[in-house]
Symmetry: C2
Subunit: 408 residues, 2 copies
């Protein structure tokens, strides 16, 4: 019957626990939460490896190490079993030989304990120590989680306040943010991720690793997840680098979500970068507008992420209103539509594909599965019927805009 290593006292401090484990194993120990942020590390040992050093300095496991361990299937092991996992040395990422165990409650993983093997190799006896250590850590994690939950609630409340309120007093908002320990160095922006079918909560879970890695705050609203994104290193970040960062973030996030839900169900939009918390609302509105536009024009706006590059689609709603007010209709397109209806042709589609491919005939023809001469014939026909000249930039613009407007 095994010894009860952690029976004597309830550990009130997680660092204390780390020290106790370290002493028992006679090796350096670190404890991380589920997002690999450093929670505690044993203090007594002097010798360590590059990976542990970086983790402590950065208060988080380096990305490089994490991705490598993912690739090597270490985490998959940790997820699927209760026992410690022995990991051989991986020189390329500065990771010495070590043992890891997941801290779990039921099927949930709360965090990890890592033990190096620098002073002595770890035996199966040590595995038992780690098993018990993982159990002993659970109450500490739950306690921590409780605090965090409450704080998260207040943070989310504040985020909604930023998104919806129309504020005047920037300094008041800054104070609130500071009280909630939310660092939001400008510039930042608001992004909306909208999924047709699943609940936002599921989405958040999916994105969780990403949300943690970059400086992102989030709230959920029905099928939407709303993100506030800023750079970790505030000072050196201008609008351009923020957009780059978001691009990168979205690329990863998007592929994850699309894998799960299918591209046609996912809509992502970002408002413009803003400098003040007061302007959060503006950025949020823009992100919302983007999502709406992308639902209406999924194909045309598929590759768009940033509000500033919405181009025509930024104007479309306004143009629709103006046209309504003026009683404007594009007579050429009207005639074309009538012609299509009367003759069961599809000149309208032909025109749209043509315009969507900036007038490249071979691309258009192959897209429509027609002979290139057929296309050329149809285009001539379209010019005759509409009275527009496809070689005139303004006529092209009119047709493109009015064509898209017809879809509203």
């Amino acid at each position: 019957m095994p010894h009860g290593y952690f029976d004597q006292h309830q550990h009130s401090d997680i660092n204390e626990l780390a020290d106790v484990i370290g002493e028992l194993l006679q090796n350096p120990v670190t404890i991380e939460d589920m997002d690999h942020r450093l929670l505690a590390y044993s203090s007594h040992s002097e010798s360590t490896d590059q990976a542990r050093w970086s983790t402590i300095m950065g208060r988080r496991v380096p990305e490089k190490v994490l991705t490598r361990l993912w690739k090597d299937g270490v985490f998959q092991h940790l997820f699927s079993q209760v026992d410690p996992v022995h990991i051989p040395e991986k020189v390329e990422i500065g990771l010495g030989q070590r043992v890891a165990i997941a801290i779990r409650r039921g099927s949930d993983i709360l965090g990890y304990i890592w033990a190096q093997e620098v002073n002595r190799p770890l035996t199966s006896e040590d595995d038992e120590i780690l098993r018990q250590a993982a159990k002993a850590a659970v109450p500490l994690f739950l306690q921590r989680q409780g605090k965090r939950k409450a704080e998260e609630g207040r943070r989310k409340e504040f985020l909604w306040e930023l998104l919806l309120g129309s504020h005047r007093d920037e300094s008041l908002l800054l104070q609130k943010a500071a009280k909630l320990q939310m660092e939001i160095p400008p510039p930042f922006l608001i992004s909306v991720v909208d999924i047709t079918e699943p609940q936002g909560e599921q989405l958040t879970q999916l994105l969780y690793p990403l949300l943690m890695r970059d400086k992102v705050y989030n709230v959920t609203d029905g099928s939407q997840v709303i993100l506030l994104i800023c750079s970790r290193k505030g000072g050196q970040c201008n609008d351009g680098t923020l957009l780059q960062l978001v691009d990168q973030f979205m690329e990863e996030a998007f592929s994850k979500i699309v894998d799960k839900f299918g591209e046609e169900n996912v809509f992502v939009g970002c408002g413009r970068p803003v400098q003040t918390l007061t302007d959060s609302r503006q950025s949020y509105q823009e992100a919302l507008q983007m999502v709406q536009v992308k639902r209406q024009f999924p194909r045309e706006t598929r590759h768009l992420i940033h509000y500033n590059k919405l181009g025509l689609y930024r104007m479309l709603a306004h143009m629709h209103l103006i046209n309504d007010a003026q009683g404007y209709t594009n007579e050429g397109l009207g005639k074309l539509l009538a012609y299509d209806r009367e003759n069961q042709t599809n000149l309208m589609e032909t025109l749209e594909v043509f315009l969507d491919h900036v007038g490249k005939v071979n691309v258009t023809a192959s897209q429509l599965h027609i002979h290139i001469n057929t296309l050329s014939y149809r285009l001539k026909r379209i010019e005759e019927i509409t009275g527009y000249n496809l070689d005139d930039p303004n006529d092209r613009f009119s047709l493109y805009a009015d064509l898209k407007l017809l879809k509203i």
Copy 2:
């Protein structure tokens, strides 16, 4: 000393005068105003030619006859001399041999008297009769002109009312129009002709023959002439045929004006066709907007006449407002502008010419007098600097629109 043929009585009626001349000359006589509208014709004679017959039936000299007489220099003769002009037969236009004289007061020409030579040839004695007849006609013309002036004044007043007032009661307007004998069968439209330098009055004079031929009412406002244009045959005219008619009218008018003042000084715009007098204002506003836009974008809108085909330029002012309100700027173009400034390049111009020629590289290159590979290099550079993709329709339209917006 010559006989005073018309001394005995003041002719109160112009038809009476025509009959007296006809009897003296023993030949058919017609009297026309300066615009060749029939005012009177002698009644006694039975034999006549095709030209006279058409003139009487159409209450105006046929266009065919007029243009031929212009070409043959007959009118030039009539303008430059006080004596009658003898005109040989012109079979092709059904014009028999005749004599014509201008009715003048000082240097102004008020109208014409025509005498055919069907019953007997006209001698120099008859020329004297015509000279005296022309003199005798002057008071009748002045009297007529006086009436017309007053009526014209009331008509112009009414036109301004249509253009500027915001009316509710269509039937009231119709009544007024009827009282002024202004037939305005719908559809009609308002057009504005704007000349940079000369006074509108001069312009009206230049256009006078055209104004008379088609159903056009006009008023002058500073450097602008405002026209209300409708079809003579109201019932059969729909919007499309009206636009065609206007095209034709403008083609002729435009060439006349451009010949005189140079293309860069002339701006013509037409509002949309409307069905009710109440809507005149709308059409007028559109015509005004067109003229304004054409001043701002003379090259781009040179060939545009109808409001409905303004395309992008119809939206530009609105878009400008929206952008201002949103604080939107096209960052790509901003970068390009900065780049041009720092490196004394002209990528901006390159881009504009490229877009103005719907992406045809050879046209663009020749327009810019550069090698085609230079152009291709610059375009690649433009894409790099702006971050826009010239093969993306939305990007293209954004650049096109925002480029033109920069000029406002």
